[in-house]
Amino acid sequence: MADMHRVETIAVASGKGGTGKTTIAVNLAFTAAQLGEKVRYLDCDVEEPNGHIFLKPDITSSENVSAEVPVVDPDKCTGCGKCGRICQFGAIVCLDGNNVLTFEQLCHSCGGCIRVCPAGAIKPGALAIGQIELGRSGQIDFVGGRLKIGSVRTPAMIKEVKKRIRPDRLSIIDVAPGTSCAVVETLKDVDFVLLVTEPTPFGLNDLKLAVDLVRRMDLSFAVVINRYGIGNEDAEKYCQAEGIEIVLKLPDDRRIAEICSTGRIIVDALSEYQQQFSELYEYVKSVKAEIDDER
């Protein structure tokens, strides 16, 4: 049955780092908001968030995020060792005689040790993993996730940021580069993915990895070529051969680089690019409707 709900979540991802994910995400958010859309920008690149540099949000609140880790009560522990045997990460090890060690940085918060403990000696404790900031940038809702320095709990942090997706808003999600766990976690259940690449051999190599990932995840996607005009035509040829739509070609314009390097929004500073981003926004809105029609 055709459910004509519009695109609610767009993820802006890439294989290669530095292709311009944030540039595309913030300019798309800005454009959509200008066109009257209710927009929420979520920075899920929690290891290196940078959307705030461009959106300059007024932060209205911040929340601490923690992950569940085991805390062992030595008085209740019987030394049976079941906790250590179920852990796939070596995060808890029972030596003997109630001598249980925990390694919080290795824990993945599966809760397995807590469940298998027959003595009820293990309770969930909280490990601080980062912060989420909420704010406003003009008409754009801003949600920024920031992983605590030294923490390796990236997917857990991303899950928390994604809980702030609102169905009454168009959510534009800034994704980490690559095809790692962090990217998979971010892309889960999004409506549409924009893969940003640059027309270079590196860009193409990593674009192919990203395309492989989104196809495996069965996600609708299209490609944005940034710094169009440098490198060669291989990325374009690849997209044509694979039947992948290229929905925006942002030229290699020195003024764009200057604007980005000073933390500004391209469409705000260079009106000639407003049309291209408006078309990108219209495209993203239309594609979901087509998919729904096919169902």
């Binding site: 852990c87 070596g90 995060a91 090890v93 390694f103 290795l106």
Partner: protein, 122 residues
């Protein structure tokens, strides 16, 4: 006493494996009789936590001391909690390492001599 030596092979003539967490084998040697058994390391290709699991394995084997090349902080913490003495920087064959230990030529290590994950790609 029983000691564990990280080894690339299954006997006393094998070379000492420089990695603790990702050692191919642990040779458990009785220093009085020189009788030994080889324990295959199930964690050699694991993603992480190998030092901890390897420390648990040598503890379960009853070793009271570990002779190896390099040892990271999580393994050191686990061995220490289990009251297992640690000696790092060993080279040569397993038999040579045991002889050095028996001769009292080794100095006990009190902390890790490498970072976590140092045994990867090594």
């Amino acid at each position: 006493m029983k000691i564990a030596v990280t080894s690339t092979g299954k006997n006393l003539d094998s070379q000492v494996d420089p990695r603790f967490g990702r050692a191919a084998y642990f040779i458990i040697v009785d220093t009085e009789t020189m009788e030994f058994t080889a324990v295959e390391n199930a964690d050699v290709d694991a993603g992480g936590g190998t030092g901890i699991n390897s420390a648990k394995a040598v503890l379960d084997a009853g070793a009271q001391a570990v002779l190896t090349g390099n040892c990271g902080p999580n393994a050191v913490r686990t061995l220490s909690a289990g009251n297992v003495k640690l000696y790092t920087g060993l080279q040569g064959t397993v038999a040579q390492a045991v002889e050095q230990f028996k001769a009292g030529a080794l100095k006990e290590a009190s902390s890790a001599n490498v970072e976590p994950h140092s045994g990867l790609n090594g």
